[in-house]
């Protein structure tokens, strides 16, 4: 197993937001994380990515506990995320946004910077080429010099994914990557997500509200409601699970 959550809980004050979550994600797997608004999906991401530490339980990546690790250390271990409310470095260029994620692999020191040693140029060239290659994958390379914050919403969401990929994740956490996109944009994005998963042999945990979409793309689904996992399994298992229908699909039907 790539990632394991063992009895993970978190509470803020007296409010229990995640309640003994037990689940795991295998390498190369695409798992959908679904649940109604306020179910605790984003909080689960905050826990896995190290922004919050669980009040109970343990998160284990490749057999090693992530306990006590700061968010940057978790990222360096290979768990990288995007954000539900886009958090790009908005006054930086698209290219610089991507390059920030590569800083962890920067092998030159201050001396190389101050004296402009060959090492500096070599690494910079490598980073730039790599970044452009990633941008090309998302057909964004022509935007590389644009200010990230000035671009349309949908484009910014894609840039966030590219930025995450640039950190060479083993596990990619996508928090509603299709929010604010239209139908064809969403379809295109989902194809891309599937493609990068195969190409980079990634595990992906995907939060997505559109049930049809997430059922179509995921190998497995985890359903959260009020901070508890009420069901997990293949899309067809989930579809017929009465608890899920009650908690989630039921809500949608009446809406």
């Amino acid at each position: 197993m790539l990632l394991k959550l063992e009895n993970v809980s978190i509470q803020f004050g007296g409010l229990k937001v995640i309640e003994s979550m037990n689940t795991s994600i295998a390498q190369g797997e695409l798992v959908g994380l679904i649940g109604p608004n306020g179910a605790g999906k984003t909080t689960a991401f905050n826990l896995i990515s190290g922004i919050y530490s669980p009040t109970q339980g343990e998160i284990i990546l490749e057999g090693r506990s992530l306990k006590g690790l700061k968010a940057f250390e978790v990222a360096r271990q290979g768990v990288i995320r995007t954000f539900q409310n886009i958090r790009l470095f908005s006054t930086l260029s698209v290219l610089d946004n991507i390059l920030v994620s590569m800083h962890q692999r920067c092998d030159y020191g201050l001396a190389s910077v101050f004296l402009k040693l060959p090492k500096f140029f070599r690494a910079e060239k490598k980073f730039q080429e790599e970044a452009i290659k990633l941008l090309k994958l998302f057909k964004l390379d022509h935007l590389k010099d644009h200010e990230a914050g000035s671009l349309p919403y949908g484009v910014q969401r894609k840039i966030e994914i590219v930025r995450a990929l640039a950190g060479k994740p083993k596990l990619l956490l996508l928090d509603e990557p299709a929010a604010g996109m239209n139908h064809s944009e969403t379809d295109e994005l989902m194809n891309l997500i599937e493609r990068i998963r195969k190409e980079f042999n990634l595990a992906i945990l995907l939060i997505e509200h559109d049930m049809k979409l997430v059922m179509g793309i995921s190998h497995r689904l985890i359903v959260l409601d009020h901070g508890e996992i009420i069901a997990q399994g293949t899309p067809s298992e989930i579809q017929n699970n009465p608890k899920v229908i009650e908690a989630y699909l039921g809500v949608e039907e009446t809406a």
């Binding site: 968010a71 940057f72 790009l88 470095f89 994620s101 800083h103 962890q104 004296l115 402009k116 140029f121």
Partner: protein, 322 residues
């Protein structure tokens, strides 16, 4: 090889300014020119922390004081070069002063930079005042009287030395902010949580910027000590820190060339307005100075250059980027 061009440019500019000063400027103007060089170190280095990292430091005068006093004390007891080579003592003093200040920056930065941005402003403000009060009460450094008879001349070589430091500071900081470290600084300013989630050790990055910044503030202190030949705690009051902040804000946070512009304006403006004072017999300088700042904040709050560098403002560059 590309590395050399920057240094050649620094040497040419420093030499040209020094020749000009020696040939055409009276001692008073030479003094102002030296202050410009010193302020270049102060403003560009403060910009690294305040502009590029988005942290707010208010203690640059304190770091300058540490560099100045360390350098002064060393210079009174240690003169490895004598005679015509005497000038070579001064880079040594500046490096020692800068290092002392960098060390202080490390110990101030570690606890305060782990917390939120506004915390740093309070800690550095307090730090600057503590340094000044300690100096005021420390007899070995002359207390309120300060230190006198420090080595240092105003000849060509001394002027060159000061402008070489100014040029070198700009060159090194320019290279720094255009490297992976610079992008890490900016990411912290833009969104430190996102930066952290992309693997940036934000505390480390901030401390690094702070220590480098403190080094150049200390070196500036050393230049100041040997340009004025005397030191006094009164030179390092809180307003000195504020002056440097004004240069940075006026020029544009996150723009090195903007800081240069800020330095020249803030250093020259009060001096240029001196004749007005003689004419009207009232000190209008501070009034005008404040008015300029207020207008600036209303009309262009991001500073003269914003976070752009001058080369990005040229129209053909803009066209190329569009």
């Amino acid at each position: 090889m590309r590395s050399i061009y920057g240094w050649i440019l620094v040497i040419i500019v420093a030499a040209a300014i020094s020749f000009y000063a020696q040939l055409f400027l009276n001692p008073y103007l030479q003094q102002i020119l030296l202050y410009i060089a010193i302020n270049v170190l102060l403003a560009t280095s403060l910009n690294l922390v305040n502009g590029f990292c988005g942290q707010f430091s208010l203690g640059h005068a304190g770091f300058m004081a540490i560099g100045a006093y360390t350098s002064a004390m060393v210079s009174l007891h240690f003169q490895p070069f004598v005679g015509s080579l005497e000038i070579l003592n001064f880079p040594i003093y500046a490096i020692i002063g800068g290092s002392a200040s960098a060390l202080a920056g490390f110990f101030v930065g570690i606890p305060s930079l782990r917390l939120r941005g506004d915390y740093l402003a309070i800690v550095t403000l307090g730090f600057g005042e503590i340094i000044r009060v300690v100096l005021l009460n420390l007899n070995v450094v002359g207390g309120a009287r300060g230190l006198y008879g420090l080595p240092g001349k105003t000849d060509f070589l001394s002027c060159f030395h000061a402008f070489f430091w100014a040029g070198m500071t700009v060159l090194l900081l320019w290279r720094l902010v255009h490297s992976s470290f610079g992008r890490a600084f900016l990411s912290v300013r833009e969104d430190s949580i996102a930066a952290e989630c992309m693997g940036i050790n934000t505390t480390r990055v901030k401390v690094m910027a702070f220590v480098i910044s403190s080094f150049f503030a200390g070196a500036a202190g050393s230049l100041f000590a040997h340009a004025t030949n005397s030191l006094n705690p009164a030179s390092f009051q809180f307003v000195k820190s504020v002056d440097v902040v004004i240069m940075v804000v006026l020029g544009g946070m996150g723009s090195i060339t903007g800081s240069l512009l800020g330095v020249v304006l803030v250093t020259i403006l009060p001096e240029a307005l001196r004749p007005l004072q003689n004419y009207t017999h009232i000190d209008l300088r501070m009034v005008i100075y404040s008015l300029v700042l207020i207008l600036m904040m209303i009309l262009k709050p991001s500073g003269l250059l914003g976070s752009r560098e001058w080369n990005q403002l040229l129209w053909w560059r803009r066209k190329g980027a569009a």
